[in-house]
Amino acid sequence: MLGQLLPLFDLLAILLLVAMFSRAAFADEGAPFGAPISPFLLHQPNGYLAIDLLAFSQWDDGGDPLVDEGFRYEALSLDIRLRPSDTVTVRGTAVVAYLQNDPLLVLPSTIANAHVTSASTDFVTLDASLATDIVLGDGKWIISPGLFYHHQWAYLATGIDLDVRHILAGGDTILRVTYNGRYAFVRQVNWDGSPVIDDHRITNNAIFGWTQVLSPHLITNVSLQYTNQAGLLSSTLQFVGLYNSAGQPVLLVDEVLPRIRNRGQVNFRTRYTSFVGTSYGLDLSGYADDWGLVNVAIEPNIETPIWGRARFRAWYRLADQKGTRYFTAMPQTVEPYMTQNSNLGSFVNQNPGVALLVPFAERWMLRASLLGFYRTDGIFGVGGSLGFSVEW
C-alpha cells in the first residue's frame, strides 16, 4: 500500500514546485485604488455558509496485531455563522459521517475470552456544536459560551463549552490570553459488551499568545499552552492483550489510564509574505505531558495564487512522538495503568497536504483539499474534501 502512496507524494511535490515558480507570472504588488476587494481579505462577514463533502480512508499495515485499525469515512459538513450585530456572532457546525470498519479480525485460538475483534460495526456519527461570540470592552474581550454533541455507535459525548479571550495589547504587538473549557458528559459501551458506563470529562485549556508584526512582510506568533484533563480519559472501546512467556496472546483486558492528565505545549509560527496572496510559513510545536508522552512537530507551508484568483496551498508536517510510559506492546501481567492505543505509542508521522481555493461569482468560494498521513508503525491514510462557501 505504501508503494501506491509514493506516486501521490511525488505528485504533491511537483504541484508545490509548479506553484512556487508560477508565482512570478502573477506578481501583484497590491491592488490599485478602486480595485475590487479581494475575496481573500481577512474580515468578518454578516453571514457565512459552507457545505463540504469529506472522505478519508485509513489502512493498518502494522501496529497491534490484535486490532485492525483500517476504516473508510465519508461525511457531509455544514458550517454556518451569523453576525446580527458588531458584538454578537452565532456559530453552528454539524458533520454527519458514515464510518465503515475493516472486516472482523479473527483472533488466535490461544485467547480465552474473545474470538474476533473490530473497533465496532459500520455506523453513523454526528458532530454538532453551537456557540455565540460576544464582544465586550471595546473589543478587548470575547466570551463564547456554547454547546456540543457527538454521537456514534456505543459512544456519546455532550456538554458545554466556554471560551474567553482577552487582548492585552494591540497594534504590531498583540498579546492575547485565552481560556477554553469543556465539560463533557460521556456514555460508553465497553468493548466486550458489558454495561454502559456514564462518566464525565473536564478539559481546561489556557493559552498565552504573542503575535508580532516584524515588518510589512513578516509576522510571527509564539504561544504557551497548558491543558488539564480530568475524568474518563481511557476508552472503554480499547482493550489490552496479555501474552504468555512464549509470546502468545492469551487474554484481553480493559485499557486503564489515569483520570488526570496535564500537558504543556509551546508553538512558534511565522509567515513571510512576499506579495499579496503569497506566503511562506513555518510552524513548530512541541508538547509533553505527565504520562511521559513527548511530541515535536515541524511544518513548512506555502500559499500562492496559481491562476486567475485561485489559490493553492501546500504543507508538509513531520512529527516525532515518544509514547506514554503506559503504552505496553506485549504485557504478561495486569499493571495499574496500561494501553495499547497506537496513537499513544512511539512513531514518526508524516502529513503532506494540498488545498485549492477558487473564488467565483461575487461572494462564492470553491474549496478542495487532499491530504494524508503515514506513521512508521504501519498506520496510514488518505483523505480529502470538496465543498463551497458563500458569505453575505
Binding site: G30, S38, F40, L41, L42, A50, D52, L54, F56, S77, D79, T93, V95, D127, H150, Q152, Y155, G171, D172, T173, L175, N180, R182, V186, T203, N205, V213, L214, P216, H217, I219, N221, L232, S235, L257, R261, R263, R269, R271, V276, G277, S279, N295, E303, T304, R311, R313, A319, Q321, G323, N341, N343, N351, R367, S369, L371, F373, G381, G383, S385
Partner: protein, 72 residues
Amino acid sequence: MTTRGICGLLVAVAVLSGCATTRFHERERLADRAAAFDQDHQILYLRDKIEAAREGGFGCFGGSAAGGCGCE
C-alpha cells in the same frame, strides 16, 4: 527557563511593543488570508481527523486520551 531568560523575554516584549514597524496602508499583505496562521475551518476539521487524532494529543480539543471523540 532561567531568571535571565525571563527578563530577556520581558525586555523584548517591552521594546517590540513600543515599535510600530508598519503603518495602516502597509498591512495589505498581512491582511490577506495567505498570511493567516489558521486555514479554513473545514480543512482544519479534516486535519484534526487525519493528523491530530492519530497522535498522542487530546485528539482534538476536549477529546479523550488520543484519537478520541467529543471533538468539535
